[in-house]
Symmetry: C2
Subunit: 432 residues, 2 copies
């Protein structure tokens, strides 16, 4: 098995080959270790990567639905055998006493954890060193920068991010990979450094939708979400999908979304209810009040070791109040009672994953404009690679479903991905 042969294999094909003994986890790991050694010095997707440790993990990873799959864990998710620094100098060298359940589930399923991937500080504003795998002059997006970039560059085949505003969907779109923001509570968040009890979710990431479904099935402990069952290869039916375009966004480029919609054909514009915009500020207030609690020890005890962007973020939180939090939660609850007005006759909505391609520069990780409302509402969403934008950078489209309909969203995303690929529209990861 050569590197170029494995390059074209999906994670699910590799896992099947490893579990059946036709490929060994060690062989797979060596190929990806070489790739990491070649590419990561410039990409800087990993904050912790130890080849010997990866080899030791590969030696015991011959079984399970993710057998031998090269895997990355965002640095804000706790690991019992690797440092967990939450993207912050305040936690240099910290080792938790155990794996987060999501890490444990991935390991039990046979994944080979290649290391910890770069996060912005505490998954908020201050970027890490990672660059975009398609253009080193651009951000990979954040806060799950490292997992998205490592996937986009083919350094891993699956990984974990997190999302509180748009920290999974946006970087995945910028790096040309697939990712899911699940409904709340469906994937255990214990061991993820929290920002907001209401908003935080673990964000699974992969190279395509079926690999993503496989990972989600493991993390949710739901074998019926495995791609062979959920979305077998072949013509999958397309359920009714509305096209949700925001009322006004002068900076956004909706051409990739409109291109995808025109390929799909049956996607019809859906009117945006007038209360939808206000969910943005509502998400911000819920975030502010809750993060002021979850980050309180860091703010009070580690201030001098935190980054200037984190200081600004924390100053914003100080302006949050309980009354504004309550108003934000009330706006969310009212919106959830009126979801029919948002979805119309559609089972799903198709919206931008991000306002456009990854922006130039590394000081910021891009806006979460098209993510924050779904995070607040708890609507599951998936970003589907949807080709390239005018600057040659990958773009994604975001499929959104009603809360709890995660399986249906994944199935529809696979159907959409199939149709886009048939039309030559994809964002194949940047593999050397």
């Amino acid at each position: 098995m050569t590197s170029s042969e494995t390059n074209s294999m999906s994670a699910r094909a590799i896992a099947k080959a490893v579990a059946s003994g036709t490929l060994s986890a060690q062989e797979v790991t060596e190929i990806w270790l070489e790739r990491i050694a070649t590419i990561d010095p410039a990409l800087r997707a990993f904050i912790h990567h130890d080849p010997e440790q990866a080899r030791a993990l590969a030696a015991v990873a011959s079984k399970g639905p993710l057998a031998g799959v090269p895997f990355g864990i965002k640095d804000v998710i706790e690991t019992g055998d690797m440092p967990t620094q939450y993207g912050s100098a305040a936690y240099l060298g910290w080792k938790p006493c155990r794996d987060a359940p999501v890490v444990h589930f991935a390991r039990q399923a046979g994944a080979v954890i290649m290391g910890k991937t770069v996060s912005t500080e505490f998954a908020t504003a201050a970027p890490g060193a990672t660059v975009n795998p398609f253009d080193a002059a651009r951000t990979p997006g954040g806060s799950s920068s490292g997992t998205a970039a490592a996937l986009g560059a083919g350094l891993i085949l699956m990984g974990l991010g997190t999302q509180t505003s748009g920290s999974t969907i946006r970087p995945a779109a910028y790096c040309g990979v697939a990712a899911m923001k699940p409904s709340p509570k469906l994937i255990e968040t214990f061991g993820v450094k929290p920002l907001s009890q209401t908003l935080d979710v673990v964000g699974p990431m992969a190279r395509d939708i079926r690999d993503l479904a496989l990972l989600v099935s493991v993390l949710m402990r739901r074998p019926e979400l495995a791609p062979d069952i959920l979305a077998p290869e072949g013509e999958l039916p397309l359920a009714t999908t509305g096209l949700l375009l925001p009322v006004h966004d002068p900076v956004a480029d909706f051409a990739p979304l409109e291109r995808a919609a025109s390929i799909l054909g049956s996607v019809t514009p859906q009117a945006v209810p007038d209360w939808f915009e206000a969910l943005g500020p509502a998400q911000d207030e819920v975030f502010a009040w809750e993060a002021a609690a979850s980050l309180s020890t860091d703010r009070d005890l580690h201030w001098d070791r935190l980054r200037p962007e984190t200081h600004l973020f924390m100053e914003r939180q100080r302006k949050g109040t309980f009354a504004l939090w309550q108003a934000g939660m009330t706006a969310r609850d009212e919106a959830l009672r009126n979801l029919d007005a948002l979805f119309g006759a559609n089972e799903f909505l198709l919206t931008p994953s991000a306002p456009g391609e990854a922006p130039l520069g590394h000081a910021k990780t891009g806006p979460a404009t098209y993510n924050i409302r779904w995070t607040l509402l708890g609507c599951p969403s998936v970003t589907i690679p949807a080709g390239f934008g005018p600057a040659g950078l990958p773009v994604g489209v975001q499929l959104v479903g009603r809360p709890g309909r995660d399986a249906a969203v994944l199935r529809q995303a696979a159907a959409i991905e199939d149709r886009l690929r048939s039309a030559g529209i994809e964002a194949r990861p940047q593999i050397a």
Copy 2:
């Protein structure tokens, strides 16, 4: 200031005296250290207590709304300067890297943490060594056994428990103290070893309702809940309250609840809707599926070091399924849409805190029959000390409000406590 003088002081009076300089935190601490030294060897409420550490903390605790208040932290809540063993031999000597936000808030407010209090293993079934302060032959209740017993014996004046089924309300009632199960999300749970994302809450405990309100105001970051504002001494109005008696419970003794209701006068029986009973099994299924994830690393990696009761608990979880979890969540959501049928014309409901007095023996910590449905619904509840039962052990009554109405529940609980005390009904902590 002598020990007998401080004995009769509330936590809020002590905090005011310390903050104003008429009493020092060190003086207060020495009195409570002596009490712990005398009583705790038999009570066994503390799993970690170091007098020198408490003295050092007292030296810097002269300011804030909880200035100098002797305080206890349940062992499942993380502390940066004291061991956190989650009630389990699997974590002997473990030290987290920081305080949970609730611990941090209590410290910032001036509380003097006297130590970590006994929890059942992982806040589930296997009891610790603590006995009931009113009768050493009986359980103090659980899983927040140590905080409840330490408060009941006067070894602390405030403390933290947690609740997933009935782990705060029940032990508080058994030990003659006040406690609150808040609405979800109002008190940050980061740093509490999780069992269930949906059900877990931090449970503040104190000796009376006004001290409880002071603690809640600190933990919720809501100064308007401080007792001077929320429930000033004097005649507080009683809002409409229904008496909710379960349909059938052959083992329960409702006499204390009926006595309290007759003193209050305006409490009228409220019919129990037919769907109410089914919320018990629903809570159990939500708990099972979520705890199977949150405890997965302990189950898979620490099995041999866990207690037999924990093994049984974990075996129960294995029977949980996603479909049963979904059904439980659906039952909850339907009940929340029909709360009017449960509350009737009442703003509050009065129900038992527990089926009766603390049972004899230490193998179990008592049933959570009257707590699990409120935990599932996210209704705030407060247990109010309500005198003694037939065996001479303390009993409590539980006041329940609609989700989010925590302030109103505390105010009404203060009004009820005042009326019970005027009638000579209270459960004064067992202070030597």
